[in-house]
Amino acid sequence: MTRTRLNIFLWIMALALSCAAFNARAALTIEITGGATLQIPVAIAPFTGEEAYPDKLSQIVAADLARSGLFKLIDTAGMPIPRGPQEVRVADWKAKGTVALAIANIVAQPGGKLDVQFRLIDTLRQDQVVQLAGYSLPTSPTQLRLTAHQIADIIFEKLTGDPGAFSTRIAYITKRGPVFDLQVADSDGHNAQTVFSSREPIISPVWSPDGARLAYVAFDQKKPIVYVQNLATGQRQIAANLKGNNSAPAWSPDGRQIAVVLTRDGHSQIYSSNADGTGLKRLSNSAGIDTEPNWSPDGKYLLFTSDRGGSPQIYRMPSYGGEPVRLTFEGSYNVSPRYSPDGKSFAFIQREGSQFRVAVQDIVSGQVQVLTNNAQDESPSWAPNGKMILYATTILGRGVLSAVSSDGRVKQKLSTQAGDVREPAWGPLIKPKL
């Protein structure tokens, strides 16, 4: 009897276990290898209250994101504009194909101040409204463009993982008639301000790492002299005024040193000095012309252009001087090297026939990618997040500023400049105080 009961019990247990095993079938594993290079679909709804101001913030934000080449702006026409997260109909925005929606309210504050209340909403999760970012940005009517760039930076960083560089500034030289101007503007070319003017040429502007100063070469004393100018005070001081030419300044990453090109020993060679001009030291020593030094982000190397091999090519040497290594071999003319912010590649100007184009070369592999197809490109300068390259080109005999995404997919002209614009330099990334 006992044995019979035991058998029945065992059968029931076996049946129960088999049922449990059926119900607890292991999840099917699917391996997905690869992906696509896609633009991120994002919608920027018109900001509530922006119609009261000449600058439409939502349009500035959308233009910034589009210029990066990484975003696809979803048309918001016909969609109800939510004034807060609770009014966002996520399913409708998901149906439009967007992964995120930016909304904002511009609220007037006492004393003429403004408060921009910005939210970035995840439109893919339908069960709840998930806020990817939410900021209250104090500003003023004259600072609305900067606020818009800051919002674009937030969206860029939230959706790409890299910091945005839209609220940074650029410097460049314009020539209007006989006057040369050193100007500083927003990264989209708006809000240009002249920081130094001269009837003599101004060349080679370069930002200090902290974004507070500009070094440049001015001929206002009838010879090229390197100056450093404080942007906040306008005060400028001589960084290099030695015998012969003083040109092509480059800041070290820590901002303590400046590399310059001097002809004090007969022909153009590369030297370094402290930012105040003291402690001069010769770094290159060749029979040819060595010029256009550029520091690596880690401060260990200098890229420069030299014709020591018979044609202008790009070399690299330790930042304390030493034996250079030639890096470029394609073509007979490669100049103006600029390290990428991650130090893995450099942008430069490469001549193909009679065309001068922006190219990027990988430091390790030596692989070169030509990014532009213009005739007269010059002076490439990386955005501080490495996603874009600013450069000058010539259209109908006039210099204009253009930008190309670092993968070459998106090219844009910066629209605001009047006159002949040359030698742009993209400023460093300054984290806004949010």
Partner: protein, 250 residues
């Protein structure tokens, strides 16, 4: 001393003896015939081999001694003996009873043999029936196995088909440019409804270390909704819960 009978008496006694014997045989024959009944129909089974004879002890019954032969005529009184109807019926009945007894024994024996034969036949039929049942059961099992194999193959084909469809759809939405230059690997768990809609949000089991890459993969899953799933319930059961492994840069 008795004088020998005259010859003409001997003739008469002989005739009488013949007649008496004739009468006896007639009585015997007709008596039995009168008693004999029409035998009932007997079903006879043909046996390939006879069963072993029963070990029953032979029934030993006293057998009546055969009737004494008639006295020679010369010992019979010269007077014609009265007819012997008295003695003749006793003998006939006794033989009849013996015959009847034998016949009953024979019938009982045959009945027993018949029952034995029937038992053997039933046993053989039962064995044959059981063998047929076993054969049919085996055939059904084999058929079921073949059908199961075919069904499994069909399910596997559907499973592979929809696995490829899901893989393709999600891959097409995955923005790998957000996953850096390395070789990140990510794992998500998702649960699906029969419509292909997600049951709950994707659960990140293994991240890439890059928040944007994790988000890009999650978005690819969400943007792929509804995922292609088989309409057959049995096939869909494979896709109720999925473990997705991603290698965006490979």
């Amino acid at each position: 001393m008795i004088a020998p009978a005259a010859n003409h008496y001997r003739f008469h006694s002989s005739v009488l003896a013949v007649l008496v014997h004739a009468a006896f045989f007639a009585l015997l024959i007709f008596g039995i015939t009168w008693q004999a009944k029409e035998p009932a129909g007997v079903v006879v089974d043909l046996w390939s081999s006879l069963p072993a004879p029963p070990e029953a002890k032979p029934v030993i019954k006293p057998v009546e001694p055969p009737p004494p032969a008639p006295e020679p005529v010369k010992k019979v009184t010269p007077k014609p003996a009265p007819p012997a109807p008295v003695k003749t019926p006793d003998i006939a009945l006794k033989e009849k009873r013996v015959q009847e007894e034998k016949r009953k024994q024979e019938l009982a024996h045959q009945e027993k043999l018949k029952q034995e034969q029937q038992k053997q036949d039933q046993l053989k039929q039962e064995q044959a029936r059981l063998a047929e049942v076993a054969r049919q059961e085996k055939a059904r099992d084999e058929q079921a196995k073949r059908e199961q194999v075919q069904q499994n193959a069909a399910l596997q084909s559907i499973k592979n088909d929809y696995t490829g469809r899901i893989e393709s759809k999600i891959r097409g939405k995955l923005n790998k440019s957000l996953c850096g230059d390395g070789k990140p690997q990510l794992e998500f768990d998702i649960a699906l409804l029969p419509t292909g809609q997600l049951r709950g949000n994707p659960i990140l089991r293994k991240g890439s270390g890059l928040a944007a890459c994790d988000k890009a993969v999650e978005n690819a899953i969400l943007q792929s909704e509804p995922l292609p799933v088989p309409p057959q319930p049995e096939a869909f059961s494979f896709f109720r819960e999925l473990h997705l492994k991603f290698k965006p840069n490979e």
